[in-house]
Subunit: 197 residues, 2 copies
């Protein structure tokens, strides 16, 4: 629709999640028509983020070093591990300031439809972390939907033989929703009211 590169940039923005052709066009024209928009900085960040960001070798959270800031923080309680599906969920929980333990990012949830089984998740790594007896409680904070519940019950069965308390975030989170989008108060309440499985 547009001359060469303008259309190419629109198409490229359109490949990003949640950006349709109209939004992509709007964004591209905003960049073209706003001289103060620092296009060089965005370009540099895009290149750098791929090079510099990796995933924490312990918990799987995003990190610029081998271990993430949470795993490196000596003030965090190593007896408590909160298991989440995605690194975005770590940030959502951190915003509640309710939790001072460590995290474990599974990298998804069990979903037979999407072809994701337990072996596709970071479950072996979780079991290794639990082996030395430091961890006393595992909080299962997978999403309150079908896949998240399936993953939580799979993990709770796996952990029954161990001397570890297994808990699940309290109801209070809207069922069928996505943990990432919960507001701070609701998510905070869910932490307080977590129940032992």
């Amino acid at each position: 629709m547009y001359d060469g590169i303008v259309q190419e940039l629109i198409d490229e923005f359109g490949r990003l999640p949640g950006i349709g052709p109209k939004s992509a066009q709007r964004i591209t024209f905003h960049i073209l028509q706003t001289p103060t928009f620092d296009v060089a900085r965005l370009a540099e960040l895009l290149t750098d983020v791929r090079e510099r960001v990796r995933f924490c070798e312990i918990c799987g959270n995003v990190s610029e070093q081998d271990r993430c800031t949470i795993c490196r923080d000596p003030r965090r309680n190593p007896a408590l591990i909160c298991v989440v599906e995605d690194a975005k969920d770590v940030s959502a929980i951190e915003r509640t300031r309710e939790f001072r333990g460590l995290y474990h990012v599974l990298g998804g949830a069990i979903s037979p439809i999407a072809g994701v089984g337990p072996d596709d998740l970071r479950i072996t790594q979780l079991m290794s972390r639990l082996a030395d007896g430091t961890v006393q409680e595992v909080i299962l904070a997978t999403n309150p939907n079908l896949e998240g519940e399936a993953t939580a019950s799979y993990l709770s069965r796996l952990l029954t033989t161990m001397q570890i308390t297994v808990s699940r975030l309290a109801s209070g989170l809207p069922v069928g929703g996505d943990l990432e989008y919960a507001d701070e108060v609701t998510l905070g309440r869910a932490f307080e009211g977590r129940r032992t499985l």
Copy 2:
């Protein structure tokens, strides 16, 4: 919320129009977690678009050369000029395939509230284009809202003394809306049914 560069990229995406913090986070994680996403290409396009894209010296449309592809096209009818507010509107009208004349991009609409007067628009440039007598009809395709109507009536008053037919896109466009978002059929009908002012 996140370590250094991840948060920086989220913030930078959040500066783009229509992208809130949640979308910015989703986009950033998509880029981080999708190895097939060509981040180098997006970075390159961003840099290139600023350097290479300018605005057509005749009509004000986006272009990679001094004159845009439409102004350079000898098959376009130079007797017909369609006046639009924004370069995005050119693309919307081109999609209808109803119009084979040339364009003139005003760069906005008259809006006392936003402090935009006739002098802030490319009206002088339009008058120069009309001076040599080639143009027989000016189609006013500003948005069918308050500012667009004000601009159209300002221009039609300005053009009454000249031997030029002045027309306005037909109603059929939803009033109060934005030309950029009209569907092809509605916009095409509006072209067919344009009325002389």
